[in-house]
Assembly symmetry: C2
Homo-oligomer: 480 residues x 2
Amino acid sequence: MNRIEESPLYRIANARSIAYYGASNRVETMGSMVLTSILDAGFEGEIYPIHPKEKEVQGIKAYAEPGDLPEIPDLVIMVLPTGIVCQALEKCGKSGIKHAIVVSGGFKEVGGEGIELERQLLDISKKYGIRIVGPNCLGIVNNHHKLNSTPMFIEGPPGYIGLISQSGSFVAQTFNYLATQGLGFSTAISVGNETDIDMVDCLEYLAECPHTKVIALYIEGIKRGRAFIEAAKKVSTHKPIVAFYVGGSEAGRKAAFSHTGSLSGPDQLYDAAFRQAGIIRVHTVVELFDCCWTLGSLPKSKGRNVVIQTHSGGPGASAADACSRSGLVLPTLSDETLEALKPILPHTASSSNPVDLTFTQDQSSFFKDVPGVLMKDKSLDYLLVYLLAPEFSVKKRLMSMGMSDIEVDEMMKDMAGKAAHKLRKLVDSSGKPIVCFTYHDPHNFMIKQMIENGIPVFQDASRAVRAIKAVADYSEMNLK
Amino acid sequence: MNRIEESPLYRIANARSIAYYGASNRVETMGSMVLTSILDAGFEGEIYPIHPKEKEVQGIKAYAEPGDLPEIPDLVIMVLPTGIVCQALEKCGKSGIKHAIVVSGGFKEVGGEGIELERQLLDISKKYGIRIVGPNCLGIVNNHHKLNSTPMFIEGPPGYIGLISQSGSFVAQTFNYLATQGLGFSTAISVGNETDIDMVDCLEYLAECPHTKVIALYIEGIKRGRAFIEAAKKVSTHKPIVAFYVGGSEAGRKAAFSHTGSLSGPDQLYDAAFRQAGIIRVHTVVELFDCCWTLGSLPKSKGRNVVIQTHSGGPGASAADACSRSGLVLPTLSDETLEALKPILPHTASSSNPVDLTFTQDQSSFFKDVPGVLMKDKSLDYLLVYLLAPEFSVKKRLMSMGMSDIEVDEMMKDMAGKAAHKLRKLVDSSGKPIVCFTYHDPHNFMIKQMIENGIPVFQDASRAVRAIKAVADYSEMNLK
């Protein structure tokens, strides 16, 4: 595949018109919910509900059969009882539809008759040349095309993470999680049972997707191992891939089998495959998106030198400990740096790395002067900043001085914005990344402003360090 | 020590009156901030600001010397420039004060003259029999005595976590973090340089503190190793101890030394000591408080059997994987359980462990019927539930049907409350714990209600599993 248009996914993820099976005027069914998600996303093409009896479904003109539609739509989405999926697909095939998302479950993953039903589904798709995502999936979220075939409404703006997931949950149930951190999907694909289109096809598609800067994988078991490694190898040279694989442990393997009927392999096998393919492996959902954050937003660099800036010892020491355990290095600062720090640090401060300003309320030393000096040190690859943003205390103190709630909020937002801009300027002028960690709520003004200014903020040093390490590991594996 | 009143910390953490050095009418200094924290906490005893010139400090009658006070206060708190601390302590000693919190830094931790200054401080304290917390610390937060000597205001209600920390930050800068999760400190002690009162004294105090159900330690290096192990051994038989030790790695060791001048030891040494003392070791701040949550709120049990309930495969498989990797076991459900599940699970569901309900909107099957059956299974020690709480989507859907913002919020809060009560009832009737995981915001109605009903909710399966494992490990080490 050389052009994105050649991908079987292209007309699915970028469908211009959709035939829709499974919605009715009873709003609480899964089928109706998915239709409202498509509408809520603001899908701009035509939607054709297909319903045996209703003339209108949720205010949209409905049709009895796919053959009745005024055009051949690019895509059909099916949220139907298992037993009638094949028959519906047959009709779609006859009417010339070439792409389908089959959300319905009850196929291979339930065993028994389900296996036979899935074989029938595949036979029909081959007979008519229909490319299928699913069955037993939530389909596709293409934030840049206003397409969302999951039962959840999209939260937050489109982002740069491309997700390929053998679980629909990690597509539809992470919108809130990502939005809270200023992240979002470019395109997310719930592949389901992969009866036709599989992870390899998705990988090739996202490799060419211009909105996708990093690819996240949730894997229970890979069907076409050799093809997967070959595809990933090609992609990872220009686009990072991060994988969360759960099939390597005994309980993970069993759970994966009963979920999607995947046959998973031992950890060592997957570790070797990931290494060969230049893929970063993670072990939790949180790590998956944390590493996507840094890999998708920071410049790539083989460097492993982290300078830590803090205003208190504990967070500094815990970040240092996490770096050491992850194979990141705390370089000694140069004599020039130490000399330049002298006049701007309080006497209780420590200028070794971690640089500990101790108690200071001086915003310019914390957000400009000190980091300004540190970012110039040649040994620095990353500046890791412990961020104190005591919104509750500051707000209460200011209000006790007679300021109103709104005045305080505006003042704090303004202060946070200025602090974030200062750090952002240092990133731009040095070309080196700043990453923060904190224990505050992500709804905090300071955290929000940092994130909006492209500075990742993680809850806990260990998460920040893991995400920095991903960039160093990726660069080492894939950059020449 | 047999009675809590015998602890040198008792009259510090439960001071009935405080002499205060370092506050002025300039509100932005550290000294003034700490005084406002004490006032904000609602401290109920007398406060006597000591100031060379002012007649009043922040509206409170001030005194020039400790000898001028109308009584001998239980405690003196000092937030003074390093150079005048010794002289002030001498005056306090002469006037009969027997307990001090020295917040000021610039002693042993900065080396050079600081070491000599700290020796002087200790000499004075011995001469007058003054017991000291600090120097270079943030002192004490006793939420049950409305005492807070840190520069941050307390957030949230008192809790059951006793913290002993060689970093002031982890005392004062985690209020928001804990409150968001429905947690809080009983008493938190920032020990600073431990020139007099040290971790061992604090451990003995918290062992007897009736509000403390679990003890958290942040350690850079332990001074009295043998005494620490002996004390911890005694405590851990009736109160769990969780320790985050950062001095075991190269960078952690260096950072710890420049922070508090601690001499730390290799990981293996600390691992052995912790094991001997029945202490659970963790590696991040997040883990520290996660394990305190389960250890402080769940019944102790040596069992390692986890039954997972989910409505979608990915979260189930990732939780299964995390259990397997942590040495927790996913038992096979009994025939009775499987029989009882049959009529209440949809046909697409999986009744092996993880029990996957797949798509269901039936609140009673998710929060009552299915967990009700599972909790009765003899092989279950913990029920781990994946919690979907799609507030954003549900709210938007309900509002599109014409409900107002307030009506929707009330309805959702009500639904969440009912769901949480159902799970709570199952916990009470079975005596076995339910733990949840989710990817939603902790401000979400459902998450809040679960937490308020005593059901811990963790962001990510891995965190829930780590925290469950802590209970099993603690029980195995310390229960006969």
